[in-house]
């Protein structure tokens, strides 16, 4: 078949459904917009409800606010033993430590796997990949014993130190993938200019892998901010509570009447994630598309 005939056949087929072809994009848009609305409605409603007085949460499914009040925020902020500022700062400290740890330790390991030749490379690489899939439960009990014997319960150390030891192997893998895309000629050029392995890593590879470091930063930020299981286990002193643990104690401590302030603090806890999402979308989407992490 010549190109001409192919074109005319395709055109003929299209002309049959011309009205459908016009309507289709509209139908798809309406369907997509409707599903997006259904998905996000509970979230938007939570924000709106947190700005309403008291127990309207249980009466008002709509989104109109007649009487805007920040009462819930004021009450929620001071509803627990410590002001909410404390929990936000605690979470921020854990997140900062975790991000720094992951950036330093994972980039070092990734450089070795991506660029250096050494005895046992395949073996260690396989172990690294397998460790990504290891459920935390298999190690949590002895880890807890280890850290409690070290006197680390109710400190942030059990949440931060492992990150400095590259236990989030996801990111090692993500960075290996990225470094493999950097031309080796650049390493060679630096070597000829007299750089050692450390020099190549610090002056060539690190500056070029900024996008991978950004992806790591954003994912570590979001995961650590949301992480509940390990923070629940290691932080039992209300002074040391992070945001998720504090929110959870809210659920236990409050009656139905204070749902408003609980919603308010839930909204507060989601703001950083939302900001990270807005600022870092590009890296997030790239990150999951290339490695399949959550």
């Amino acid at each position: 078949m010549t190109t001409e005939t192919i074109r005319s056949t395709v055109a003929a087929r299209r002309s049959v459904g011309v009205s459908w072809a016009r309507v289709r994009p509209l139908v798809i848009h309406v369907a997509l917009a409707a599903s997006a609305l259904v998905m996000l409605y509970p979230l938007i409603w939570m924000v709106v409800s947190s700005l309403r007085p008291g127990n309207e949460i249980f009466r008002e499914p709509g989104l109109l606010v007649k009487d805007l009040r920040i009462e819930n925020y004021r009450l929620g902020w001071n509803a627990l033993t410590e002001p909410f500022t404390r929990y936000l700062l605690n979470s921020a400290a854990v997140v900062l430590g975790a991000v720094l740890g992951n950036l330093v330790s994972c980039s070092m390991a990734a450089y070795a796997f991506a660029r250096l030749e050494f005895v046992g490379k395949k073996f260690w690489f396989a172990i690294m990949l397998l460790s990504i899939m290891l459920p935390i439960h298999v190690v949590i009990v002895p880890q807890y014993i280890l850290f409690s014997q070290a006197g680390w319960i109710n400190t942030f150390l059990p949440l931060i130190i492992p990150k400095f030891l590259a236990t989030d192997a996801f990111f090692v893998f993500l960075m290996v993938q990225f470094i493999r895309g950097i031309p080796r000629e650049l390493d060679e050029a630096a070597r000829i200019d007299g750089c050692g392995r450390a020099g190549i890593f610090l002056r060539v590879i690190l500056p070029l892998m900024v996008p991978a470091l950004a992806t790591t930063t954003i994912f570590t930020f979001i995961w650590t901010w949301n992480d509940f299981f390990s923070q629940l286990i290691y932080l039992t002193d209300p002074k040391m509570y992070t945001v998720p643990v504090a929110l959870r104690s809210f659920v236990d401590a409050t009656a139905e009447s204070s749902w408003g302030s609980m919603f308010a603090m839930s909204v507060v806890s989601l703001v950083p994630i939302f900001l990270a999402f807005l600022l870092g979308q590009r890296f997030l989407i790239k990150g999951i598309a290339t490695t399949g992490i959550k």
């Binding site: 997509l32 998905m39 390991a109 050494f118 298999v138 009990v141 450390a198 509940f228 236990d252 999951i288």
Partner: protein
């Protein structure tokens, strides 16, 4: 290439003869190696040992042989937690992936504003594991929650979805399906890889929308479906936060949301029955490992590699 692809490609030989950098390499790897032994492998061995002991954190572990495992055989709550977990995994993962695939296929057709919709659909998968969303779920599916308020508008009498043992798990399934965004983004990346000429050729041969989907899209996407399936199953088996917060830490009502992980937490950190909790953890690892292996085995029969 994905982590799974890497793992299966490891067997292939690489050209030898490159200069080795053992010292430098092991220096760069030292933090990771220290973590591997001190925080992963060491504790794994310790937990395997503890699985054969009676240990409450205060007295020294006492060796009891297979007692923890025989106890698991007759532990009704554990059997129930397995039922709950399996139901959750095998209902929510296929549903989640089906929704993710459907929307990915729709978005892949050059819809205007595709990036916008992609972001909107992706957002819940970042928020879904947070305590805040679990709190929201508790309200939405509560007796006087948002869902029932909306149902009341159309004259339907709702019920306490979370307080009813027959629907409580369903609310968690809905929550997991709600986070379909991340597999959807992976599907979208996969769809980009399918050459458009296949579709053009199929159109010329008279294939319709469904024909193209089932004859081209689906077969070429099977490696990505497989990848998402393995990942989401592993992930779903380990779910904890949502069930814990939605049920107020109890796994209730009537143990209907008592995931295996919740029961493990309850034994280990609620009752300091660390030996039993360790045995359970190893059992969980074996289950996840078995399902992953079965998945890989079955993949030979349905996953289609185009190279």
């Amino acid at each position: 290439m994905s982590a799974l692809g890497e793992l299966s490609a490891l067997g292939r030989k690489k050209p030898a003869g490159q200069k080795k950098d053992n010292l430098a390499a092991y220096l760069f790897l030292s933090p990771w190696l220290l973590g591997l032994f001190a925080i992963t492998i060491g504790p794994m061995i310790a937990s395997l040992y503890l699985a054969f002991t009676d240990y409450n954190l205060i007295q020294a572990p006492e060796w009891i042989g297979f007692e923890n495992f025989t106890r698991m055989l007759s532990d009704e709550r554990l059997h129930n937690s397995l039922r709950v977990t399996f139901t959750y995994v095998f209902v929510s993962v296929p549903l989640q992936l089906a929704v993710a695939l459907l929307l990915a296929v729709v978005l892949d057709r050059g819809v205007r504003g595709m990036a916008f919709y992609r972001s909107i659909f992706y957002l819940p998968s970042l928020l879904g594991s947070s305590v805040a969303i679990a709190i929201l779920w508790r309200q939405v599916f509560g007796t006087e929650g948002l869902l029932n308020q909306v149902l009341a508008l159309v004259g339907i009498d709702g019920k306490g979805w979370i307080s009813d043992p027959s629907t409580a798990l369903g609310t968690l399934v809905v929550l997991n399906v709600w986070t379909f965004g991340s597999p959807m983004v992976i599907f979208l990346a996969g769809l980009r890889q399918i050459p458009t000429m296949y579709y053009e050729a199929a159109s010329v041969d008279g294939a319709g929308v469904l024909g193209r989907f089932f004859r081209i899209t689906l077969p070429l996407l099977t490696p990505i479906i497989f990848f998402n399936l393995v990942l989401q199953i592993i992930h779903a088996f380990q779910s904890f936060t949502q069930a814990f917060v939605v049920s107020g830490g109890t796994g209730g009502p009537s143990d209907s949301t008592m995931f295996f992980t919740l029961y493990l937490y309850d034994r280990g950190f609620g009752n300091f029955d660390m030996g039993y909790a360790s045995a359970m953890a190893w059992f969980l690892l074996v289950i996840i490992g078995a399902f992953t292996a079965a998945n890989f085995f079955a993949s030979k029969y349905w996953v289609f590699y185009d190279d």
